[in-house]
């Protein structure tokens, strides 16, 4: 590389890596961005591996979990009922939250070299028994929260079981945390549906990783076990066949589309974030099945790097298609079977990938200006 530009000519990567781990918050951000550009320019797996090792070095301890009990109230986080390393509880929801967040941690740590949701060893807090008759789970920006479903209704009227029952629900909620620290996808319309889809993708991968299932063996159902026997349905969403997870007189029919031609325009559900996520979900499923083997390995790696380094708050489906294709090229080579699989995945949901050429050059501005910005001596743009 002869054309010196940006910050790369000036500051050796090892210094940037030091800044990335030891600098102030704003210095870290700038150093990491610079490392990303550097990695993009060098283009290949080794550069990304160097970057991962520098950025995601264990800052604090390893896995650290706390489970709280809201005791059917709405105050968060509630009373501590199980800490990291403590023996199992007599309460099944407590153990499911503990074990489920543990497996989620393991997938991110072991496979993607990410130390917890913030990549810096953040403690994983979960609250169970939130309110009564609460058929939902959510990420409140700091922790996971789980309801018990319809435990307060007569058995023959219950539709939902407790939300910790499905491991992919736990992976889903924690991935909202990862997205919050990385792409920060706005929770509205297409960026929101991508946010939801990322949570479903990694939620499903957590379950597949735990069960050691290949893409062909996995059920690709989100929330299997969550619906009671009173409901005609196998789960909440199907990545394999969006729109087919349930069809029930009380709950209605699974509204998810699997193709852009069926995209749902609505003001409900933050612009259909849980509806249109079926489209990118299915693109991931096709990619993973096309590649075969364990979905968390190649397909998951492509989606993870895209979430971490490429997507931004306002990214749309087409951006995600282009960027996953680009990442597949960077990780596995242009024209590789991985890149072809990504292209096929998006094609089957009605999106044609664009790009795949060389990444854009770093922003101009000169080495001195870049260094000054990095050290905080000049206002950032």
């Amino acid at each position: 590389m002869h054309k010196h530009s940006g910050i790369n000519c000036f500051i050796p990567p090892h210094i940037l890596k030091n800044i990335a781990t030891k600098g102030t918050e704003s210095q870290k951000v700038l150093a990491i961005d610079t490392l990303k550009i550097s990695a993009q320019m060098r283009g290949r797996r080794q550069a990304l591996a160097d970057f991962s090792a520098a950025t995601f070095r264990v800052a604090a301890g390893g896995k650290d979990r706390i489970v709280y009990d809201a005791k059917n109230g709405s105050s968060l986080p509630g009373a501590i009922v199980r800490r990291e390393g403590e023996a199992a509880s007599a309460d099944v929801a407590v153990n499911e939250a503990y074990d489920g967040s543990g497996v989620t941690y393991d997938l991110y740590n072991d496979v993607y070299k990410r130390n917890s949701i913030d990549a810096s060893g953040m403690r994983l807090d979960s609250t169970v028994h939130y309110r009564t008759g609460y058929d939902n789970a959510f990420w409140d920006g700091e922790q996971m929260v789980y309801g018990d479903g319809d435990e307060n209704l007569p058995v023959d009227e219950r539709l939902f079981n407790r939300f910790t029952i499905a491991l992919d629900v736990i992976g889903h909620e924690l991935t909202h945390g990862v997205t919050q620290f990385e792409a920060k996808l706005t929770y509205f319309q297409q960026p929101g549906a991508l946010n939801e889809s990322m949570s479903d993708v990694f939620g499903s991968l957590v379950k597949q990783y735990q069960l050691a299932q290949t893409a062909a063996q996995a059920d690709w159902i989100i929330g299997a076990g969550l619906l009671t026997a009173n409901v005609n349905g196998v789960g909440i969403r199907s990545m394999k066949a969006p729109g087919t997870a349930y069809d029930d007189p009380v709950l209605g029919k699974d509204p998810q589309p699997a193709h852009m031609k069926d995209y749902v325009t609505t003001i409900s559900d933050n612009g259909g974030v849980h509806i249109n996520s079926g489209i990118p979900n299915h693109a991931f499923y096709i990619t993973a099945v096309e590649l075969g083997g364990n979905a968390w390995e190649r397909a998951g790696q492509i989606w993870y790097v895209t979430l971490k380094d490429k997507l931004t708050a306002d990214s749309k489906f087409q951006d995600c298609a282009n960027l996953t294709y680009q990442v597949a090229g960077e990780l596995f080579g242009a024209g590789s079977i991985e890149q072809q699989a990504v292209k096929k995945g998006w094609a089957e949901v009605g999106l044609t990938v664009a790009g795949g050429g060389p990444p854009p050059p770093p922003e101009p501005g000169g080495c001195l200006a870049a260094l000054l910005r990095l050290l905080g001596a000049a206002p950032s743009r």
Binding site: F138, Y187, G192
Partner: protein, 107 residues
Amino acid sequence: MKVERITFERSGGFAGMHNVVNIDPRDLPKEQAEALLERLDELDFDKLPAQAMKKPSMPDEITYRITVETKDGEHTVVTGDTSAPEEMQELIQMLSRIARKQAQNKK
């Protein structure tokens, strides 16, 4: 406030379940109708802000859209299950119970 109709819509949440029910208080059991109308009065519903939702939205929070129609017009409030102020929680629970019953009856 003479309530003619209440429209209660639930969307979002992890499960993304969407349902809309129209409630005519005159069709409800007397006690339930009275409790509901009393709650709306106490809340001064038609003066509540139209948006009672935290921004940015919390992932997987359930969204509620409540419209109350009277002879003089209608008022809609959009809120979420954790965003909703404490004083609205009881109203949401009442409406959820009615909606659930209506869905069960359709079965």
